[in-house]
Symmetry: D2
Subunit: 343 residues, 4 copies
Amino acid sequence: MNHIQFDATKPMDIIPVGRATIDLNPNELHRPLYEVATFSMYLGGSPANIAVGMARLGKKVGFLGKVSNDQFGQFIKGYFQKEGVDTSQLSAAQNGESLGLTFTEILSPTESRILMYRNQVADLQLSTEDVSEEYIKNSKILLISGTALATSPSREACFLAMKYAKKHGTIVIFDIDYRSYTWKSKEEISVYYSLAGKMSDIIIGSREEFDLMEILEAENTVKGHQLAEQYLGYGNKIAIIKYGKKGSIAYCNDRRAYKVDSFSIKLLKSFGGGDAYASAFIYGLLENWDVPKALEFATASASMVVASHSCSAAMPKAADIQKFIAERTEKVITEIRWRDDVE
Amino acid sequence: MNHIQFDATKPMDIIPVGRATIDLNPNELHRPLYEVATFSMYLGGSPANIAVGMARLGKKVGFLGKVSNDQFGQFIKGYFQKEGVDTSQLSAAQNGESLGLTFTEILSPTESRILMYRNQVADLQLSTEDVSEEYIKNSKILLISGTALATSPSREACFLAMKYAKKHGTIVIFDIDYRSYTWKSKEEISVYYSLAGKMSDIIIGSREEFDLMEILEAENTVKGHQLAEQYLGYGNKIAIIKYGKKGSIAYCNDRRAYKVDSFSIKLLKSFGGGDAYASAFIYGLLENWDVPKALEFATASASMVVASHSCSAAMPKAADIQKFIAERTEKVITEIRWRDDVE
Amino acid sequence: MNHIQFDATKPMDIIPVGRATIDLNPNELHRPLYEVATFSMYLGGSPANIAVGMARLGKKVGFLGKVSNDQFGQFIKGYFQKEGVDTSQLSAAQNGESLGLTFTEILSPTESRILMYRNQVADLQLSTEDVSEEYIKNSKILLISGTALATSPSREACFLAMKYAKKHGTIVIFDIDYRSYTWKSKEEISVYYSLAGKMSDIIIGSREEFDLMEILEAENTVKGHQLAEQYLGYGNKIAIIKYGKKGSIAYCNDRRAYKVDSFSIKLLKSFGGGDAYASAFIYGLLENWDVPKALEFATASASMVVASHSCSAAMPKAADIQKFIAERTEKVITEIRWRDDVE
Amino acid sequence: MNHIQFDATKPMDIIPVGRATIDLNPNELHRPLYEVATFSMYLGGSPANIAVGMARLGKKVGFLGKVSNDQFGQFIKGYFQKEGVDTSQLSAAQNGESLGLTFTEILSPTESRILMYRNQVADLQLSTEDVSEEYIKNSKILLISGTALATSPSREACFLAMKYAKKHGTIVIFDIDYRSYTWKSKEEISVYYSLAGKMSDIIIGSREEFDLMEILEAENTVKGHQLAEQYLGYGNKIAIIKYGKKGSIAYCNDRRAYKVDSFSIKLLKSFGGGDAYASAFIYGLLENWDVPKALEFATASASMVVASHSCSAAMPKAADIQKFIAERTEKVITEIRWRDDVE
């Protein structure tokens, strides 16, 4: 059963909101950053990756965001246009803000760190003035990346966008996407994440992110299904909780729960899979697939991306994901009992 | 019928949250500020006035707020203590913030202006760290003044306090109390006021404030009852819309509406009545009176305050309000049809 | 001997630069601020007081400063105009900055404290764009109040004004006028005060202020004449060091030094004398008096002001100062040996 | 004649002050930045380049600066240590400031642009607390890079360092090194550059930088020697004015002037020569060479660096510069008449 009804009259499929940045990935792998000599440049930022991911999957994709008013901002715009992402609502910051940068440190296939440039960053300058009610009204989905809630004026822009989405029947997906940068306190995180989680239709986050949202200590005895129930109780139809290498669980409002595992692949790096997962899962929902099938597609896409050097540039096409699945016999989706946890 | 059930096991009656400031009222009346020679000093700030108002009415009153770390902060603390308001949660700002000042310009009995000192003001430094879950849990009512939502960190402190109140069955009263200072845009106001209005049990504001909350133009054709219905729909039990000299209307969730007029008095100034009104109305609810009786008490108290030189210092005792009402024969409370407006 | 040659062709006598604020002095004397009930409003701020002082003495006075864009800004402008101070270069801050306020706490005749409102203050918004080269060129004297060096953009405005003054033969008087507010560190104070002290022709400050300028500890063994010599060495013609109740010493570049005592008067408050002193001393120089005569006039004016309730409003006229001196027989000016200290 | 006497008892030769950053130079040359795929990482920042340059030339070099508290800060520290630059006074910023980045766009051999990351940059957080009087006292030379004057607290740190240098006989070299970033207005630039130019012994800058310092229009008729005379008048011994491809002129306080031309080389990029020039010139002065010989050494070093891919990494050793000069027969140093300009 598909739990989400999309309004087929809306011409756009999805509008991710938030940061489009640059990833600078080291060409010399598996060493500390200060021993790296050269970097390759890619488009990055979770909602930007999802935009590219969905465009590669053939969907009609917009973007609501702000970039720097310089050559790097031009790079983002040009990249989106090449991929077919609409850039009519991609504006340029006007007060010297910089594009966000993420220097990746790939210490080993399983160990990565990042060094972020997020001071006076362009994406967090998105403001309520940049939010077009008409643009949101015309899209089936609005995807909010939680990083965009970290500070004003981007925070208010997101809440206003969600307000318009609720008013016009646009489905809201809240991808918690927590980054420690910019937030001032745990309580602040909790306040705004929980306000956003009350306005969404689908909520996706790691177990750590759900804990943050509820101000739970690192070691707590709350069960995953209890967290999911809380947000289904606010009106969400699907809540996905991710447990890193242990996989993830999707809780649906028909009280069915699905455990999702990874396909076995040779890891090159330990990041980038989440955006591929989100893109492919949303694609499945838009195709009106049932949840388990969409989840299988999602985990396949994630596996393909973590085996490659970049994130955005590696986003696969639908046929390639299908071929990847067809070549494998592993069972990665299992319906579980509601109260079961990952282990 | 009383629409609100208070938890009688909670020892504190009410905790107003937000600004406690100083009013400097001119002693030479009815002239522009720059021709004034001397000022009298009073405690001010809407939630501080309500705290004093409720203490004068014999209720157990706390306060959650931040004052300056100087002689003026001491003045506030001393004044509260003299009035019997608990100051255990009244902290002092630590980075040179000043206490807010309001210089009043009384141009005529009906015309007043104010000149505010709100730059780097202490009250807006209230932060999530200052919010005690236990303190809120132990109070029947939490009263949020909308001015405290104007900026961080006070904004997050308020949402966290409301989150705790909902968790522990403490009634939330949202007094919109809009001041143009500090807010950045109309959309920002709307975003946060409407989020607060979804979390409250009683909402009180002027018609202009409700319009702001919904981003309605000054000249719009939306009816008062439509605005009230929207917020009753979010779960409020009572919504009061104030129309200045034309009186106010209280909409209850049993679909009954009451028009409230003023008693005839000799005006000295045109401000200060709102906080007396709120205090006396809440007093009535706590006394388990029905809504019309509480409203009559409220408008009587308001009339008494606008006839005097200050606001906080003039807050009447219950017996005085009853005497004021007993001496008058005017009918100031009228049940109206749901769809009627003030005129 | 008069050590300063003024350019008689310049039409304006003096342009004080810096803050014009409001003093709120308590009407109930000799008690802590939080027990005060009413305040009287006066023009305040050291350079503004000096401007009024010199206008009362019949000189042609301008002013370079910034006030708030509200009723208090209008009060300053109106007050200056009434006193005959030119306000053509008194501009209004445009981003919601407030006029500085000084609430005075008069605990006893000899003990005073102040509570200042200096957050986002209008006067420190004076910027290089507000500095007219022509205006400075046309004045015999430019008087810089050190408080205006405390932060940008006022700091740069002052240095630019001094640069223009040096270029056009306008005499620079540097009144150190240290206030702890706004400065970030001792080293910062020292850096900018000493840069200003290298550009001035006359420097006036308390012993504590000279110590600050040289980053000297509170208990040091440096002699007053050594400090004076340093600044005379940079090109100053007169250096005046003030020692509070013990009087002051004027060091001149002809190696003569004068000790200045106070006249015996009944003190009402312990502040406000400095600006009267500066005004009357500068008046004497402009009248081409010798230094001792100018100093006697200065200390007489200071004595008259500390015996009254305000500072600006009490600034005396020349005839009144002369009458005050004529009625007294005390010898308040003594030539001392260069190496003598106050005790 | 060598115009500068260094104090041979001071153990350190030079302490450059200011920014140490990272240059990211494109590996794909001669195309716009948004078409670049990979970047190489080098140490950058004018005073850091000079530090490396002087260390390569065998001098004892310190550094006074602030880097980020992350892997990039470690890169700088490690690089300095490898080159033999003392890092005892290289501190780490503590409030999330980032290391400055310079992405270079090499459009052609003669046309370059840069894209800088200077928002909340670590180097401008250098503060007066970081300035050790002892460290400066023990060095023959203090080199101030004008970029460090652009904002507080770095600005005050520089003036304090210069104050200590003057007190202890350490020679001050002021390298104007103007970057448009961070400065607020032309007048601000002029105020602080001219204050620094009054405290230095050697001043080096482009003609555009001298014009900025004097608030001169782009098209003005002031002669180079007039600008030089002004700063020699303040006490500088040598003033060097650079005219880009047209060479530079060194004005000495014995009224002799030298024109400096470039050696003919194959340009790879149009930047990086200035720091090589400064390093080699200062080296010559420390070696007690006469000015023309030091200038020849300087221009040779500059030519060698602009022919290579980086700046810091390409800094030559003394023997290599001598070999470079020995292989050439061009006359690049010419004594000119004082009043001659470059053309």
